[in-house]
Amino acid sequence: MNPYGPVAIYLCVALAAALLFTFLPGLLGRGKPNPQKQEAYECGVEPTSAVAGRFPVRFYLIAMLFVVFDVEAASLYPWAVQMHALRAFGLIEMVVFVIVIAIGYAYVWKKGGLEWR
């Protein structure tokens, strides 16, 4: 079998499953709509406001800043595991990396990126 055969099978199964779940309810279900069924699902609690509401762009800013530090943490971890094996070279690399991130962090702080406006 072609080594990529399993990938092709996997793709077909994924596609079939998605299509099945999309169209099967429409075919089998009996449509009896009522106002309660039309509401957005909020863990069983009655929704208090419009679900498709807009939310402030500052969430994106926070999310973006989070990604930066997330990436930092994600690269610190494997380094910490292999710290002894990587010797001084690894240490220097990581110090440089942290300094770069720290300058960026201080810059964001000074420019008011962490203020909740």
């Binding site: 094996a85 010797r87 960026g104």
Partner: protein
């Protein structure tokens, strides 16, 4: 006791990246100075730091000319080609800094300049990149910073440009990545040299991979079926960013393309594999120049002009001869200075309130600013390929390479495209020299010396290149 993981790279590998490191360090220094100054760093200090790092990188890079070294396991190939391409990117960065000195506002200067320098790093990385991973790293570094730079202007059209650029460029990156994945899957290697020389016959995955890879690159180069984003983005982005984009992104993507073509040509199926590329280059030459005819904004006009110019450069690579590559490089050098010069003139006639990019701003320029009008005429003639400029020499060289390589139809399309473009470039020249009744009503504001000087330097370089067409000879081989 743990095993020691040996560092696979020696200092020779790191030395290759010195110019890039200097620019990156310059960007950090700019941010740091802004950080420690009371409100924000003075404009001159930011620009001086950035300028120093760019010039320093240029000097260090020039010293590497003549060295050949495959750094990082073939990830970055140092050689004449990489050096020339990196220098071009640095020239673009320096020219852009001069434009920022005229147009930028002080409060946002540091962040903007830092982004510009990082973008420069990305293009420099692409200049030497010879495997799929470094190519993608350089491309994303270049593009990510540019998305932000495009939106750094307080109006809706700039935001539209940034969003358009982000979405379309990400789509192109998607094509490129998928193509890369297929290339790796079918050959088991990330090195361009190994991929391009894999047997093509009976390997559909390699075919599709190559096609997607080239489509992604064509998007970034804005060759014709994939060009629709570039006029809108150029129009919306701030003037210095447009200048940088029109040179640096094209230099970076062309470096990758040239390497790929150079590596592919010895293989058996190369002729068939690369034929679509020459066809879209031919279409770009004609369609780009046709699109130029309808434009009323210098930035849009130069976007369409850039589409055609890249078509000429890609066409020079047709056949994959060493001579074609040298001539492509010569034309790219000339193109860099033509474009930077034209944007320098546009900057010189801009005011803080309004960028001087609408065609109406050029009406009667010859009466108000005879030097600037003369310089602009020179750049337009160069872009059109008229005799006393490097554009003429460049086109003659490309024509000879095309005919020599057996692609006479490309040469024919080049001549056709040039003939069409003449009308569009002449439109600007005519606007500048036509007598303007309202000339006295227009306020003549002082022209920034830096923009003036960079226009003069670009014109001088173009003139010198006409008489000493230095097609760099030390650029072969690109791929080992």
């Amino acid at each position: 006791m743990t095993n020691v993981i040996a560092n696979p790279y020696t200092s020779a590998d790191w030395n290759v990246l010195y110019p890039l490191g200097i620019v990156a360090l310059g960007a950090l220094a700019v941010l740091f100075v802004d950080l420690v100054s009371k409100k924000h760093a003075p404009k001159w200090l930011t620009l001086a730091l950035a300028g120093l790092s760019v010039i320093g990188a240029g000097v260090v890079c020039a010293q590497q000319y003549g060295q050949n070294y495959d750094a990082f396991g073939g990830g970055f190939l140092l050689g004449g080609f990489a050096v020339v391409m990196q220098e071009l990117v640095l020239v673009a960065a320096l020219g852009t800094l001069a434009l920022y000195a005229t147009l930028g506002d002080e409060e946002r200067m540091a962040g903007t300049i830092a982004l510009l320098l990082w973008s420069t790093c990305g293009a420099m990385l692409m200049a030497g990149a010879a495997n799929l991973m470094t190519i993608f790293l350089g491309l994303e570094l270049l593009s990510l910073a540019l998305y932000c730079l495009c939106g750094l202007r307080e109006n809706a059209i700039a935001r539209e440009a940034a969003l358009k650029y982000l979405i379309l460029s990400s789509t192109a990156s998607g094509f490129l990545l998928y193509g890369m994945a297929l290339l790796f899957g079918s050959t088991g290697s990330v090195a361009l040299a190994a991929i391009a020389q894999a047997p093509v016959a009976g390997n559909p995955m390699l075919w599709i991979g190559c096609a997607l890879f080239l489509v992604g690159l064509a998007f970034k180069l804005s060759l014709v079926p994939f060009h629709a984003w570039s006029p809108d983005v150029y129009e919306g982005a701030p003037l210095p960013v447009t200048a940088f984009m029109s040179v640096a992104t094209k230099v970076g993507a062309l470096a990758v393309l040239a390497r790929f073509v150079d590596a592919a040509v010895p293989s058996a199926g190369a002729e068939k594999l690369l034929l679509p590329l020459w066809i879209i280059a031919g279409i770009s030459m004609v369609a780009g120049n046709l699109g130029m005819l309808a434009q009323h904004d210098l930035k849009r006009l130069l976007a369409f002009s850039g589409i055609a110019q890249v078509g000429y450069i890609v066409a020079a690579l047709a056949g994959g001869g060493a001579l074609g590559l040298r001539y492509a490089l010569f034309y790219l050098i000339a193109y860099t200075f033509m474009n930077l010069g034209a944007f320098a003139v546009a900057t010189a006639i801009s005011t803080q309130a309004e960028e001087g990019s609408r065609l109406a701003n050029y009406h009667g320029l010859a009466q108000r600013r005879p030097f600037l009008a003369a310089a602009m005429t020179f750049f337009m003639l160069a872009l059109a390929g008229m005799p006393p400029t490097a554009g003429f020499v460049g086109k003659i060289l490309i024509l000879s390479a095309n005919v020599g390589a057996g692609y006479a139809w490309l040469a024919g399309l080049l001549i056709l495209g040039t003939a069409i473009s003449l009308y569009a470039y002449a439109k600007i020249i005519r606007a500048m020299y036509v007598r303007d009744e309202h000339a006295h009503a227009r306020e003549a504001h002082p022209v920034s010396p830096l923009a003036w000087a960079s226009a003069a330097v670009c014109a001088a370089v173009l003139l010198v290149l006409t008489f000493y067409p230095l097609a760099p000879s030390n650029v072969i081989p690109l791929v080992r």
